[in-house]
């Protein structure tokens, strides 16, 4: 740990704690997931940076959307996202969640994921390599430092819009709204 980091720890310990213990919950929602095992295992060892897979969304603060999201998965993705404790960060993997990617004309995959849940960072690639995942993590660190990884705040703020979009695609959702009281002005 160099001095620079030490001062950061004193200045903003919360941010630092979030940065260096990113416990990832990930859906095997597609191709991107094939690069998660290498990333967290011996060749690349993401645990060096505190990135480990979390067993349940309740333990996690990083949500990796590892590829295209089918309608059926979207339901589970939203559920999982809402279960995660705040602050939480989301990263979209590869082309598909950005703009549909390979499956831009599929009837069962949604095209732009950020219409349904907030995304803090996107990684280019089909699918991103482990190195790209590392760079995305450092990118996320920067965003956390600058308070720009505020997806969960945006979700709270625009929840009515998100919920409306979710219901437009999924139909009636079987769980109650997460933030009942906060309505958009």
């Amino acid at each position: 740990m160099d001095r620079n980091q030490l001062t950061k720890w004193f200045k903003a310990p919360t941010k630092m704690a979030h940065k260096y213990s990113l416990h990832a919950v990930y859906f095997c929602t597609g191709c991107g997931v094939i690069e998660i095992p290498p990333t967290i295992t011996a060749r690349w060892d993401a645990e060096r940076f505190g990135v480990i897979p979390a067993a349940t969304p309740r333990h996690a603060n990083l949500f990796l959307i590892t590829g295209y999201v089918s309608v059926k998965t979207l339901r589970a993705v939203i559920r999982t996202y809402e279960q995660m404790p705040e602050p939480k960060f989301t990263v979209g993997f590869g082309s598909c969640p950005i703009n549909g990617g390979m499956y831009w004309d599929s009837y069962n995959t949604i095209n732009q994921l950020d219409k349904y849940i907030p995304i803090d960072g996107w990684i280019a690639g089909c699918m991103p390599r482990p190195e790209a995942i590392f760079v995305a993590v450092t990118h996320l660190w920067t965003l956390i430092d600058k308070d720009m990884a505020d997806g969960y705040k945006r979700y709270r703020k625009h929840y009515a819009q998100y919920r409306a979009n979710q219901e437009q695609v999924l139909g009636e959702l079987e769980w109650p709204p997460l933030f009942q009281s906060e309505r958009e002005g």
Partner: protein, 296 residues
């Protein structure tokens, strides 16, 4: 002075426990051919948990954790740490045995509140596993207590220091071996990692904890690790005269646990119980009988 120790010893236990958690991740990583996280990683994580927003599932949810934490702290107070023992009452061993049951009970109470099927499966597994290792453990403790003719942990330690550690004395060596065999189960390590089993039941009892609750559970985990190892060192490896040697002994025990952890897959719960009730129980039982028949 005693009051100072009362405050300090749980803190020391926590520090050592967290260090062990960090170290075990490092060691496991090495066996996995990788570097692993920094040693202070568990600290960061606990800190992170406490700054997150947790969601509660009822009063018992929080209370249960506190209960189990309290149980663990009480146990720690009774455990000698290399000559330091804040509560060296004569009934030490019995209190420890009782209080050790509190920790899983608290978690069970709290986790049961969460209404997650994984959690309830985990809890039932935990109870079954406890059933599995408690029997040989009691036999071992019985043998040791009979052998040294005392129920005070401090006395047991000092008795071992006078002669030789339990491992090195003839009838008790069987109990020692039995203890070694159930140690991974008590520490919740593989092949007995059936309770949490992230790949099977998504961390089982702790599946529903988030934020500060998870932080408390992690602290509880660190304390449990400390208790499990220090109990072993105290009971069968003669404790130590000063904290440093004691710590070194604990390290060795941890390393043994980690090697086993790295070398085996997880067993099914009934396999685990069957295993625990077979060899360790048998050895512990024989040990007890020998101790009783041979006398002192």
């Amino acid at each position: 002075m005693r009051i100072l120790w009362l405050v300090l010893s749980p803190l020391i236990a926590l520090a050592v426990g967290l260090f062990f958690l960090g170290l075990s991740r490092r060691v496991m990583a090495r066996i996995h051919w990788r570097y692993g996280p920094p040693l202070y990683q568990p600290l960061i994580e606990i800190f992170r948990y406490f700054t997150q927003k947790g969601s509660s599932h009822g009063v018992l949810f929080g209370l249960g954790i506190v209960l189990s934490l309290a149980g663990s702290i009480v146990v720690i107070l009774f455990l000698p740490f290399g000559g330091i023992c804040s509560m060296s009452g004569s009934g030490g061993m019995l209190v420890v045995l009782y209080m050790m049951l509190l920790a899983p009970l608290g978690i069970a109470l709290s986790g049961g509140e969460a209404a997650n099927p994984n959690a309830s499966i985990g809890i039932s597994r935990k109870l079954m596993l406890a059933l599995g290792y408690e029997l040989p453990f009691l036999l071992i403790v019985l043998a040791i207590m009979t052998h040294y003719d005392t129920i005070s942990l401090v006395d047991i330690v000092s008795a071992q220091r006078e002669t030789a550690s339990a491992f090195a004395s003839f009838p008790l060596v069987l109990s020692g071996i039995a203890y070694l065999l159930i140690l991974p189960a008590m520490l919740g390590m593989r092949p007995f990692e059936v309770v949490h089993a992230p790949q099977e039941i998504s961390s089982g009892p702790i599946a529903e904890y988030s934020g500060p609750y998870l932080g408390l559970v992690t602290i509880q985990h660190a304390l449990t690790t400390f208790i499990g190892i220090s109990l072993f060192v105290n009971l069968v490896w003669g404790g130590a005269g000063n904290p440093f040697v004691f710590f070194l002994k604990m390290l060795v025990v941890l390393a043994f646990g980690l090697f086993v952890n790295a070398a085996f897959p997880r067993l099914r719960v009934e396999q685990a119980v069957r295993y625990l009730w077979r060899w360790p129980t048998l050895i512990a039982f024989v040990g007890l009988i020998l101790v009783v028949t041979l006398g002192r």
